[in-house]
């Protein structure tokens, strides 16, 4: 099967039941996308499938034939996506493990909603756990990125 990862054409011929997460991490050695729970409960493995935030740990390869996948490594060529900039301005990360997933999840909110409210942010981000507790900074960084203040 054919698919695109961060704009690059790829071919996959392995186990169709294997989740995308392990294709990214083990085969492509793109380890920016993290394993946290394996059950789509924590969001650490979030990537975009044709622009939709999706948990890669529960997504079999068979479901993504022909799709275009974006990972944290491909979110922005210079790692200067407004959210990445805002994340740095607000010193969001602590340990950093969940942050790829947080940023990928937040990016699809901003793509649809230029001025999300606190409630909308909480609803959109509710599937992404951060055990360090960076939630207040995630909220603020998303709001700033939405306002374009992070540029």
């Amino acid at each position: 099967m054919k698919l695109k990862i961060n704009g690059e054409a790829r071919e996959y011929s392995g186990d169709p039941q294997m989740p995308l997460l392990w294709y990214l991490r083990d085969e492509l050695q793109m380890t920016g996308t993290k394993y946290g729970c394996g059950m789509a409960l924590c969001g650490a493995c979030t990537v975009h499938i044709d622009g939709e935030a999706t948990r890669s740990c529960q997504l079999p390869m068979s479901a993504i034939a022909g799709k275009s996948i974006t990972t944290i490594e491909g979110l922005d060529a210079d790692n200067q996506h407004p959210l990445q900039v805002a994340w740095k301005q607000h010193n969001v990360p602590q340990c950093g493990y969940c942050q790829s997933g947080q940023i990928m999840q937040a990016a699809t909110l901003l793509a649809k909603n230029a001025a999300p409210s606190d409630t909308e942010i909480d609803q959109h981000m509710s599937g992404n756990i951060c055990r360090c507790g960076t939630y207040p900074r995630i909220r603020n960084a998303i709001k700033d990125a939405a306002k374009g203040e992070a540029s």
């Binding site: 186990d15 294997m18 989740p19 392990w22 991490r25 083990d26 085969e27 050695q29 793109m30 380890t31 920016g32 996308t33 993290k34 394993y35 946290g36 729970c37 394996g38 059950m39 409960l41 924590c42 650490a44 990972t71 944290i72 490594e73 790692n79 990445q84 994340w87 740095k88 010193n91 990360p93 602590q94 340990c95 950093g96 493990y97 969940c98 942050q99 790829s100 940023i103 606190d118 942010i121 909480d122 609803q123 981000m125 509710s126 599937g127 992404n128 756990i129 951060c130 055990r131 360090c132 507790g133 960076t134 939630y135 207040p136 900074r137 995630i138 909220r139």
Partner: protein, 747 residues
């Protein structure tokens, strides 16, 4: 002019040398070029194990503590760069492997800054002095007329300046000054200490360019996933691994050695599936059919255990601290107030489940692990492989959270044993289910407190019995009482000036591995003590803040030894870090001022307060709640005032306050339980942790500016949170929550 910020300096130098039995870092042996031993550079100035300049004048700072979100790699670099007046853009942080030459590396107990501020200033100042000397020789002037400025040395009378890079070869030939002889900058000239510096790792984190323990990839490596015994110390009676071996990619199935008491840092045993890919290993382990033995722990059920723990707490215990005669005062009083508090087992559940990779040859081993404890990883791996310690190298990756789970090296030992047997590098991955079901749990606790008040509402007697299975049981099965080490965590150091006080402990047997979790026993002790303090305030019909201040009493340094209590003060001297009630009261006043406590009733706001000293710091929290008609509650605002003495990076301290409170919230709403000895919870759908929608809406953090010696930061914000929250819910609803987990919807 010497600037000695702490009277501990000399003692500390002696202690460090003797504690490890090794003349490390601070004796600055000129023959040691330790960073070069890490294989990074060749020509260099390396006066000690923490500081090295390469020939281009790039400053390499070796961070010997593990990075798990506290930004220690940044803070320790700030300390060293400060004395050198370095250019921050020319500083590179090198992560140390596990080795005694660095002194203690066990990154727990909130002590990375408090134990290293002074010694790393000296480490930096030593190199700074050598660079001044090198410049002075070149100019033929006195080094006393030279200062370190902007990554170079300036001759003050002439204004001449030379960059460090031109001084490296000469400086490298100079004798290394004795630590006692180097002068330290005065605080007024600190350049990086006390300043906000962005994390050195932040660019990598936001671009996904990070290497955690789970991310290690070696050529020809196998991935192992392990099915561990569901009940501690049971073992596989029979294993049918045919289906597992049939899965494409599965290479081998290996039985790990059976575990017996004490648990220690040993693997739990079980059956490992080794495969070429993570997915195959995960599929393989699911396909195993294992019959497990039964043992005494199979009878462990949380419901009946809870009842027995509470029954023990309500009986008299063994007295561990006594002032006056609390039992008599209670007996003589017609007005005894009492309450029992309960808190369940918890799992640390760092976002990154444990993972370790091992490459083992016949005479050496190398480990890559997300470990808080590279030194005990090294010693435990060496012991398991029957290899001398100096043949084992432990590389420390970034840690996707630790919270105490990764201060146990069991997962690295698993990887080492499997790599040895497989004859190939092996990465052991813990799935989330493994992490939640086979952890070293935060202990389950029952506490009973009785008090009596006079007619004016003054508390005259306080009798508190604490009962929980001890961390000591993990290392000694005969340990059936809370250890002194745990009683010191917020129990025996109770700061209340009540004339009659008796503190007791009771017996509790362990049935799971008990371990450390952020703030450890402080979490449940603060919950009980500060919930009950609030209950006493209400019984006396007094303001909770005022009553708490009166319970704490006059400004004084508490002398626990005078009351027969053993207290180690988190391993630091009590004269340098006294239990100072003035500082505790100060954070209470500051946090309640910030929260507009006095006007809460006119403003119809429901606030709860708690304040707790731990890890030598003073933290006070106010939580505001709103409770909806359906019983759901939210926190519009939370407030924290923290006095941690001298701090290195205020932004990171603030972040620890925010995150520490949210961790405290998770501790209040989470629960691990067992049925027939096996843990009931498996993953984040049935082990509840705080999500963004549960988090308080607004955080207000106040860091007390202080020149006092540095104290802990990572843990102190957590303990006061749950009691402040429960007290706020009482203020809003009149319902007292004495048992955790605290429901997200009140009934």
């Amino acid at each position: 002019m010497k600037d000695i910020i702490s009277p501990q300096r000399r003692t500390f130098l002696k202690q460090t040398a003797s504690a490890s039995g090794f003349a490390l870092g601070l004796t600055l042996l000129p023959s040691i070029s330790p960073v070069a031993a890490e294989g990074t550079h060749t020509e260099s100035l390396a006066p000690n194990v923490f500081v090295e300049f390469d020939a281009n004048g790039q400053l390499f700072v070796t961070c010997h503590r593990s990075e798990m979100g506290q930004q220690i790699r940044t803070s320790l670099a700030q300390i060293i760069a400060d004395e050198l007046d370095a250019d921050w853009d020319r500083v590179t942080v090198v992560q140390a492997t596990g080795h005694p030459k660095y002194g203690d590396q066990n990154t727990d107990g909130s002590r990375s800054v408090r134990r290293n501020l002074e010694r790393l200033r000296i480490a930096g100042a030593t190199a700074a002095a050598m660079l001044r000397e090198a410049a002075a020789r070149g100019w033929n002037v006195s080094p006393d007329d030279c200062i370190n400025r902007e990554h170079g040395v300036v001759h003050t009378p002439s204004g001449n300046r030379v960059d460090y890079k031109s001084l490296i070869d000469v400086a490298a030939t100079l004798p290394v000054p004795e630590p006692d002889s180097v002068s330290l900058k005065p605080r007024s000239r600190w350049k990086f200490i006390g300043k906000v510096m962005t994390s050195v790792d932040i660019d990598d984190v936001v671009s996904g360019n990070t290497t955690f323990g789970q991310d290690i990839q070696l050529d020809d490596m196998l991935v192992a996933v392990i099915q561990r015994p569901p009940v501690m110390f049971t073992h596989a009676e029979s294993v049918d691994d045919k289906k597992a071996r049939d899965i494409a990619g599965v290479v081998d199935v290996i039985n790990l050695p059976e575990a017996t008491a004490p648990a220690g840092f040993n693997p739990l045993g079980g059956v490992a599936v080794l495969a070429k890919t993570t997915w195959a290993a995960m599929q393989g382990v699911k396909a195993l059919s294992v019959k497990w033995t039964r043992n005494e722990h199979t009878g462990y059920n949380s419901d009946s255990y809870k009842a027995s723990l509470i029954a023990t707490a309500q009986q008299p215990g063994e007295v561990v601290r006594k002032r006056g005669d609390a039992p008599k005062a209670l007996k003589d009083s017609g007005n005894v107030i009492s309450a029992t508090y309960y808190a369940p087992l918890l799992a640390q559940a760092p976002m990154e489940p444990p993972a370790a990779t091992a490459r083992v040859t016949t005479d050496s081993a190398e480990i890559w692990a997300c470990t808080q404890t590279p030194q005990s990883t090294r010693s435990n791996v060496a012991a398991a492989l029957k290899m001398p310690e100096d043949k084992v190298t432990v590389n420390v990756t970034l840690l996707g959270g630790g919270f105490g789970r990764k201060s146990k090296p069991d997962f690295s030992v698993e990887a080492a044993l499997l790599a040895q047997q497989a004859g190939k590098p092996v990465k052991v991955i813990w799935r989330r289910e493994d992490d939640i079901q086979h952890g070293y749990y935060h202990s389950v606790s029952a506490q009973h407190i009785q008090a009596t008040q006079d007619e004016a509402g003054n508390t005259l007697a306080w009798r508190h019995n604490t009962v929980f299975p001890s961390i000591s049981s993990t290392f000694n099965p005969a340990a059936t009482k809370p250890s002194n080490g745990e009683l010191r965590l917020g129990f025996i150091d109770n700061p209340f000036a009540i004339p009659n006080m008796q503190l007791e402990r009771g017996e509790a047997k362990n049935h799971v591995r008990i371990g450390w979790l952020r703030s450890v026993a402080n979490v449940y002790h603060a919950f009980a003590i500060h919930s009950f303090a609030d209950e006493l305030a209400h019984a006396a019909n007094q303001d909770s803040r005022d009553y708490l201040l009166s319970l704490i009493g006059e400004d004084r340094h508490i002398d626990l030894a005078a009351e027969g209590a053993e207290y180690d003060n988190y391993g630091d001297p009590i004269d340098v870090y006294p239990i100072d009630t003035a500082r505790l009261k100060n954070v209470i006043r500051r946090v309640t001022d910030m929260a507009d406590w006095d006007n809460r009733k006119v403003n119809n706001r429901f606030l709860g307060l708690a304040a707790h000293r731990s890890f030598l710091s003073y933290a006070a929290a106010v939580v505001e709640v709103e409770v909806a008609e359906d019983g759901t509650w939210t926190m519009p605002n939370v407030y924290m005032s923290l006095d941690a003495g001298t701090i290195v990076n205020p932004e990171h301290v603030r972040a620890q306050c925010e995150g520490g409170m949210i961790y405290g919230l998770s501790c209040a709403i989470g629960e691990i339980s067992a049925t027939d000895g096996a843990i009931d919870q498996t993953n984040f759908h049935n082990y509840q942790v705080a999500r963004i929608q549960h988090a308080p809406k607004h955080f207000h953090v106040d860091i007390v500016e202080s020149t006092k010696p540095p104290a802990g930061v990572g843990e102190p914000p957590t303990p006061p949170f749950a009691p402040a929250l429960a007290n706020a819910l009482f203020a809003a609803t009149g319902k007292r929550i004495r048992e955790l987990p605290l429901p997200l919807t009140l009934s």
